[in-house]
Symmetry: C2
Subunit: 363 residues, 2 copies
């Protein structure tokens, strides 16, 4: 971390808005997109914030993402909808589809929206935090370009396919689950590779399908392993969850699933075949008071949180965390001190500035 420097969140936000506006993304859409990206940087999910801005920039510059997407409902019932994202920014399509799920929940008790023809939507956690503010239990999933092997496979067939869900407490902070369905994030393998370190078993296979501890073997045609890693430790379960996310996000909406999900960044290979439109997301919202008094629910969540925190700690640990703790703690620090960026990311932002003419005075 010695090479990172801290940057003010506001300056990064303003720059991000201007980058999207540069491509004539409407003002409100540009602002919501910047908000979702900023949320990743604040919450410590460094891989999903401005570190990805250059990829969005490239995709917009090459016309591979529609800056003025007309997000529309193509089918609906009282509690469900299928949304077509018109090949827009996932950062625009996702918030609009999530809003539809929340509106349906307020009217019908629950709302479920499957989305096709979209692109990378940022962190899944942002969407469920929106639901929390409305006393809804929010769910968010998305498929992504293939990087993970099915258990007993030797090649990339599924995305890291995250699942997020959140539950509000009264005095305790909310429980916020936001997890990829593979054993470890690609970014952690990247960090090990740059540091010249080996990786634990259970993270990845090499191009021949053998377990590996060499981070280069993943990058050189290998694949990440699903959560659970191997048959003994439940790798079939993480594989099952990844399939679930793919079906709900992409098969149900008519997007590209599995190995046919289009890539997010330019340098990634484009699948040889298309089985739908863009990538897919899945959003859900449940009205808490459709099931139980909201105040009672929150009191019980507080009790659950305290009970879990009160668990006797395993040796060498300070005891269990609550899902969402690390992200909330990161946000408290980063709002105060700024967002740490590594030089490579700063250089990417400078390159955007050079190409677009948008000033980057703050950096």
């Amino acid at each position: 971390m010695s090479e990172t420097k801290l940057y003010p969140p506001e300056a990064l936000f303003d720059f991000t808005v201007r980058v999207f506006r540069h491509f004539d993304v409407p003002e409100a859409d540009a602002r919501i997109s910047a908000t979702v990206l900023q949320s990743a940087d604040l919450r410590g999910i460094d891989s999903h914030g401005v570190a990805r801005l250059h990829s969005y920039f490239d995709m917009l510059r090459l016309g591979r993402i529609n800056p003025k997407a007309d997000v529309s409902i193509v089918r609906e019932t009282a509690s469900t909808a299928t949304v077509d994202g018109d090949n827009g920014l996932g950062l625009v399509v996702g918030p609009k589809a999530n809003a539809i799920a929340m509106e349906k929940a307020l009217a019908a008790g629950s709302g479920w929206v499957s989305v096709r023809n979209s692109n990378h939507y940022g962190i899944a956690g942002w969407y469920v935090l929106q639901a929390l503010e409305r006393d809804l239990i929010g769910w968010a999933m998305t498929n992504t370009a293939a990087l993970v092997t099915p258990l007993w496979g030797a090649e990339r067939r599924l995305g890291t396919n995250p699942i997020a869900i959140a539950f509000p407490g009264e005095r305790e902070p909310p429980i916020v689950i936001d997890m990829a369905t593979c054993a470890v994030a690609y970014g952690k393998v990247e960090i090990a590779r740059r540091a010249g370190k080996s990786i634990p078993t259970g993270w990845a296979i090499d191009r021949n399908g053998n377990s590996t501890t060499d981070p280069n073997a993943l990058i050189d045609g290998g694949a990440l392993l699903p959560l659970g890693s191997d048959r003994d430790r439940g790798g079939h379960k993480g594989y099952g969850l990844a399939v679930m996310v793919d079906v709900l996000s992409a098969v149900l909406s008519g997007a590209n699933w599995g190995p046919f999900a289009p890539p997010f960044a330019l340098q990634q290979e484009i699948p040889t075949r298309s089985v739908g439109r863009g990538i897919g997301h899945f959003f859900g919202a449940l009205r808490i008071d459709a099931f139980i008094e909201t105040a009672e629910f929150k009191r019980q969540i507080d009790e659950l949180v305290r009970t879990l925190r009160g668990t006797r700690p395993a040796p060498g640990t300070r005891g269990p965390l609550i899902p969402g703790d690390p992200e909330r703690e990161a946000e408290a620090i980063r709002r105060r001190e700024g967002i740490p960026l590594v030089p490579a990311v700063v250089e990417e932002l400078r390159d955007i500035s050079r190409q677009s003419g948008i000033p980057l005075t703050a950096l």
Copy 2:
């Protein structure tokens, strides 16, 4: 497996119905309960079939389960309901609550039911297979008595909390995911213990919270580990999923959550505190044609299944399975050849026969 013998499914079914009828469980309820138990035996989930009949027998005999439960809706919206199981058999309450979720889905696009005041409901997979028959995507979850530690904990705080979901294909068999959110089933540790074998790391901790390979250490006050096992391999993710299941099943319905979930069998310890009623379940149903033409969905599922089966195999394997393959293959064999029971289970059935006077001629 050399000590197991094969028994006709019909005879076990009839005996099971008569055992429930012995306690004046209504005929229809007794038959559905026997159906759910038989489904476990047919699908190879041996721990959840007639191997549990003696526990149900004990609980009914001691009046700890209500044989004539009046299952009722206590709150509802167009797409949701909260159900009180009246302390009935989970095998009765579960199917009724699942039916409510399916009816709501047919009317409103989706249906979501959280259930309190219930007991052990058998295999989660049975419920989602019911939804499949109606072209619905079915979900089923339940909490269970605490057996799993949160990551970095040293004691049992959460149940094995399974998640099931299923998706229908057209010509290919359905994808049926049915998984506990811990790394491995308790039953596998039991098998290792009886065989005098060690268990892999990542399955369990001992009573002090240290990783163990001794199956006795789990039984002697230890705990199972969540899916992912440790921090490096994503144990916080399995822990998060277990919390999710507990909240949706128990906090949302007003049942007992976490360490306060009451036990299933007599020999298990009863929690010192009650925070709700009974254990909880959560059922969901999504109408496929609320999102996309059902025929199109099924064709894409077929393609997905073939694509996953076509994955290049890892060395030493025959390549990826589809979730649900092992259970479906077990069912094909067992319907033909009979259900294998170990002598200890047969002895338990004989004991029920002796205590109740119900003849066990088939065994």
